[in-house]
Symmetry: C2
Subunit: 351 residues, 2 copies
């Protein structure tokens, strides 16, 4: 690979790279799943229904951020190109499918990516709410099995594969622990974000990609330090988009997070600055209350807007922190450009 | 290792071996889990509750059949002794924990191994049925993450580790597919037994153990042929014990399977021979009906007893089939003794 200095701005280069990876995932994921769904069909109609629900759910869009970051880290450390580690890239998408399928049932979310969530789809298929929720838990379990299966099909050396699998195991343990804290409203908010988002959205995919490139322990430690603030920034951006984003772009309703009861960074900032208790009372009337009065929702959004600059400042500081880590990392210029592009793309995204 | 001809009968030798492995698991599993539970405790009380529920559940007895078979196969193919592959042995127990935790919730079982199932324990802890079932699904997910983590800590070569992990992934995919068929009463009964029992109780552990010994593809194919009838025999033995076993030894109530609604091999044999439809009507009044009249239950047990000789004959034929496979396998005498002992122990067990 030649050293690239100058050229297009990193974010543009990264966007092209990300677009190519996303296209590959959108094309290869249904192809990978097809024989597995066919095998389930041979076993019985119910096994087919469950496997097909995984296929429908995981192939219905999604930003494919995780495989993009994995491929970026793999290339950054001189490993194979995205097209040569496709099963590993699919594996994080299948892991994401598993986690979302279980989470959606826990959070009672009915719609995801413009279609029914899996427990809703299987409820219709199997004829009862109970059969639907059992089906969703099994679909999640099966998707986790597929994730591991796909990862282990990656063509690489056994030691890199074992190390990559360790990263997958770490991601699973961390994100499930994060979900426990989140679902029961427990734990420190930045710890929850770190476990529930950074772990499997940023840190895990980057470390998995670096593992497939044979990165050294010290390179992985550097990458982890770089990933930490970036993952948190990703979550803050998600929180900003979930409350103030353009519904046309995000595919989520305005004030969606508020009505879903998410204790976002905005909510935390607002309550932290609440001297009179009025904001807390307002938030309690609106947060997670599906039939909250429209006037209360509007007022809550106005109040959350007062916290917005502080969240934006924190986001910006986190991105600076990632840049500072990147500056200290021993990387070729091209690799540095890829990772700088990732910072811009994750921190500035509008969907 | 020296060739052993003569000596104690294989089943006695195997029982001693199994006892030593079981003791090691009973001692090492809590030791392995301790730092993971401690880490969860640092995160928050709810994460501790979930991790601790895994610990309580997986360390409360259990026959430890799977690690015994894994260690037996590993030694049979000249691999390391049980004490040198402890994390791998723990990994199948944790996989088993994960599967039972999810299954018990799906089957609405309240008691397992003489204590509350995990959704029941967490229902009491978190104060609602819904919070308990969410907790149980998360506990299962976390136990699966622990299983993978433990396996990847096994000290062996990276290629053996990658192959062992492939076996774990195959076990997970198969057993979840089997659970789908079982929970919705779908699929061919021997297919369900193969996927739900043989896969992760016999075939998977044996192949995982052989992988850790670096067994060749043809050795693993032979072992798989040996495992197939043995796994089914294990299931038939389980079915016989669940209906006619000594409650003192099995720890399950007499007629337990009947009242839990299990469509055992006995039920299938009875219905297959039913010319008048009377047995079918009787089974429908009793199977899975918790408050069925005692007279009907007694009558159903009498009728199931008529199917018992046919199930026992099938079991015996399956054990002969495993012996025949064993006879054709190219093994040292000591290895052959270990596997012959496994046939006796699994086929003749009384608990």
């Amino acid at each position: 690979m030649k050293e690239v200095v100058g050229g297009p701005p990193p974010s543009q280069g990264f966007r092209d790279f990300a677009h190519a990876v996303k296209e590959a995932i959108d094309r290869e994921l249904p192809r990978w799943l097809a024989p597995h769904v066919a095998k389930a069909k041979e076993l019985g109609g119910t096994a087919f229904a469950v496997a097909d629900a995984i296929r429908t759910f995981t192939t219905r869009g999604g930003k494919r951020i995780r495989p993009v970051l994995m491929a970026a880290a793999c290339e950054a450390y001189g490993g194979p190109r995205a097209f040569d580690i496709l099963p590993a890239l699919l594996s994080v998408e299948l892991l994401q499918g598993y986690l979302l399928i279980h989470d959606d049932w826990m959070d009672e979310d009915e719609v995801r990516r413009g279609g029914p969530t899996v427990h809703v789809a299987l409820r219709a298929q199997f004829g009862s709410a109970r059969a639907g929720e059992i089906g969703a838990v099994l679909a999640g379990d099966l998707a986790m099995g597929y994730s591991l299966t796909a990862l282990l099909e990656t063509r690489t050396t056994p030691d890199r594969l074992a190390e990559a699998t360790r990263q997958l195991a770490r991601m699973q343990v961390e994100v499930v622990a994060g979900q426990v804290l989140d679902v029961y409203h427990d734990g420190n908010v930045e710890t929850v974000h770190d476990l529930k988002t950074t772990s499997y959205t940023v840190r895990g995919p980057l470390l998995l990609g670096a593992s497939l490139a044979g990165a050294s322990a010290s390179q992985k430690a550097e990458l982890e330090a770089f990933a930490q603030p970036l993952g948190l920034a990703f979550q803050l951006r998600d929180d900003l988009l979930g409350t103030f984003g353009d519904p046309q772009k995000t595919g989520k309703s305005a004030a969606g997070d508020l009505q879903q009861g998410k204790r976002t960074a905005l909510v935390h900032e607002l309550l932290a600055a609440d001297r009179t208790g009025e904001d807390r009372a307002l938030v309690e009337r609106v947060l997670g209350v599906k039939d909250a009065p429209a006037a209360d929702v509007a007022r809550a959004l106005e109040r959350l807007a007062t916290a917005r600059p502080r969240v934006e400042a924190r986001l910006s500081a986190l991105l600076d922190e990632s840049h500072a880590h990147l500056g200290r990392m021993d990387l070729r210029a091209e690799a540095r450009n890829i990772l700088a592009g990732a910072i811009s793309a994750l921190g500035e995204r509008e969907r």
